[in-house]
């Protein structure tokens, strides 16, 4: 990555050399119709463009021709909002472990054929083309991904000490941006890494303790209800996660869930 960045950024002549690419993109008018892969060609793509900028170029081309532009989700374009997410050549967010917006065209070569598909999961139905409905994640959060705190004056910062190791691990889990790459990459279309990141993030901190048992049983029940698959600990999720959330969080979720069930916690129906 560093080497290729240097070669394209360091040599201006190199970055001016445009790439010609063949794109095969999933086109689907709406959720009710069947979609199919459609081939497009884009020319003179700069290696410094982000993947989404390359799609912007394609869409401008399509609009000029009077065609329907390709629908895809995006927002901050700086890798922190979790809105973008495409299956690029069979990998969630493409060949680099980052978000689609932070993937740059220098990861591809002139003449490459690139397949672009939406996240595929019955819990993430396609809205149009590459845009999917990820509200299932919102409902998992609603089921338990919160803490209850009294409002009013901010408490004394040192009133509740948190061990450094716990706060670091909680923060690592909290970096999950809910993009859905874990579901997209999982052979079972399981949302386990997402849910586990939330359970770990809140469960490691003192503020997360009062609801700890109810949180894990309700969030797992909700992810089952949404129609996600079960986890078989294959590890594709963690490898695709732009934030590198580890498989350790899944073990922690399992530990918390089995403990909570033994303690008598049951999901709300």
């Amino acid at each position: 990555m560093t080497a290729s960045m240097q070669s394209s950024v360091g040599n201006p002549a190199d970055s001016k050399r445009g790439m010609n690419l063949t794109l095969r993109i999933w086109r689907q008018k709406d959720p009710s119709v069947k979609g199919k892969m459609v081939t497009y060609k884009v020319t003179d793509i700069s290696p410094d463009m982000s993947f989404l900028e390359m799609l912007d170029v394609l869409n401008e081309q399509l609009i000029m021709q009077g065609d329907d532009p390709v629908a895809f989700d995006h927002d901050c374009r700086e890798g922190i909002c979790g809105m973008c997410g495409l299956m690029i050549n069979g990998q969630a967010h493409g060949p680099q472990q980052t978000t689609t917006c932070q993937l740059h065209m220098r990861s591809f070569k002139d003449g490459d054929k690139i397949d672009i598909e939406p996240w595929r999961s019955s819990a993430f139905p396609v809205i149009k083309d590459l845009a999917v409905d990820r509200r299932a994640f919102d409902r998992i959060i609603q089921a338990g991904g919160y803490i209850s705190v009294p409002t009013g004056t901010a408490p004394e910062a040192h009133a509740t000490p948190v061990p450094k190791a716990d706060s670091d691990a909680a923060f690592d889990a909290a970096t999950c941006i809910g993009c859905g790459a874990c579901v997209a990459a999982c052979p079972n279309a399981s949302s386990m890494l997402f849910t586990a990141a939330k359970v770990t993030h809140l469960g490691l901190l003192p503020q997360g303790q009062p609801e700890r048992n109810d949180r894990v049983v309700n969030m797992v029940a909700q992810q089952d209800r949404e129609g996600f698959g079960g986890c078989t600990n294959i590890g594709e999720c963690s490898a695709a996660c732009p934030k590198g959330i580890s498989m350790e969080t899944i073990s922690r979720l399992n530990h918390d869930l089995l403990g909570a069930l033994r303690a008598g916690a049951r999901p709300k129906s």
Partner: protein, 232 residues
């Protein structure tokens, strides 16, 4: 997300918690692994000769005699194993179906980056191992499909089966599949039961590999010894 639409299908709700199913899978798996260790060690008795091996087989059937009726221990083990197999199979089929429902439309292009061959073959590998177990019981326990028939002694049945290269080949393939199944299974069970973490991960995967190799080798040594005439 502001887009709304009415086309969302309501997915069939999984009745039992998917993590609980995995825990059932893990615990039943552990029961079977414990049995496999005893089975593998017991098999090595074949190197002590015909009489000793047949005597060992007889002993298993008479543990606790005369205080206990014949086959008491064996019956308990068989019931425990049968329950474990059924539970393991039920959890696997149920999660398999859940996974299939979770992705009805497959990717046109999908590239795996992290999965091992062992983890990819858990389901079909498991089905083949199950079929193997059925054959294996009919071959060496009941003798129904054994070349020497059901009237022979355990030692003779073993030698008769493994003298046939095709039967031996089937055993070898099945045992290698079993070894791979265990390699991913041990790691997966550790995760499922919440006993893994970043520090232990490397140790767990290394243990799973070494354990599976040793167990598989321990089983394979018997058919190979018969095939190469070390046991006859």
């Amino acid at each position: 997300m502001t887009v709304t639409h009415a086309g969302r299908r309501t997915p069939k709700v999984a009745k039992t918690n998917s993590v609980v199913k995995k825990a059932v899978m893990a615990i039943s798996g552990i029961v079977m692994v414990l049995y496999l260790i005893a089975h593998m060690v017991g098999n090595l008795k074949v190197f002590t000769g015909r009489e000793s091996f047949n005597h060992y087989s007889e002993w298993i059937r008479t543990i606790g005699a005369p205080a206990l009726p014949p086959q008491t221990a064996l019956t308990i083990i068989r019931i425990a194993l049968l329950v474990a197999v059924i539970a393991h199979f039920w959890a696997a089929v149920s999660l398999w179906r859940q996974a299939k429902r979770a992705r009805p439309e497959r990717y046109v292009t999908k590239k795996a980056v992290a999965q091992s061959y062992a983890s990819r073959t858990m389901r079909w590998g498991g089905v083949i191992v199950l079929l193997f177990i059925v054959y294996h019981i009919l071959d060496l326990t009941t003798g129904t499909v054994n070349p020497d028939g059901h009237d022979s002694t355990p030692y003779d049945r073993l030698v008769a089966s493994f003298s046939n290269p095709f039967i031996t080949a089937f055993y070898v393939i099945s045992l290698v599949l079993l070894g791979m199944h265990l390699r991913h299974g041990i790691w997966s069970a550790t995760q499922t039961l919440g006993q893994s973490n970043r520090r232990r991960e490397r140790t767990v995967t290394a243990f799973a590999l070494v354990f599976s190799v040793v167990l598989t080798a321990g089983f394979l040594i018997v058919p190979f010894s018969v095939l190469f005439g070390l046991v006859d």
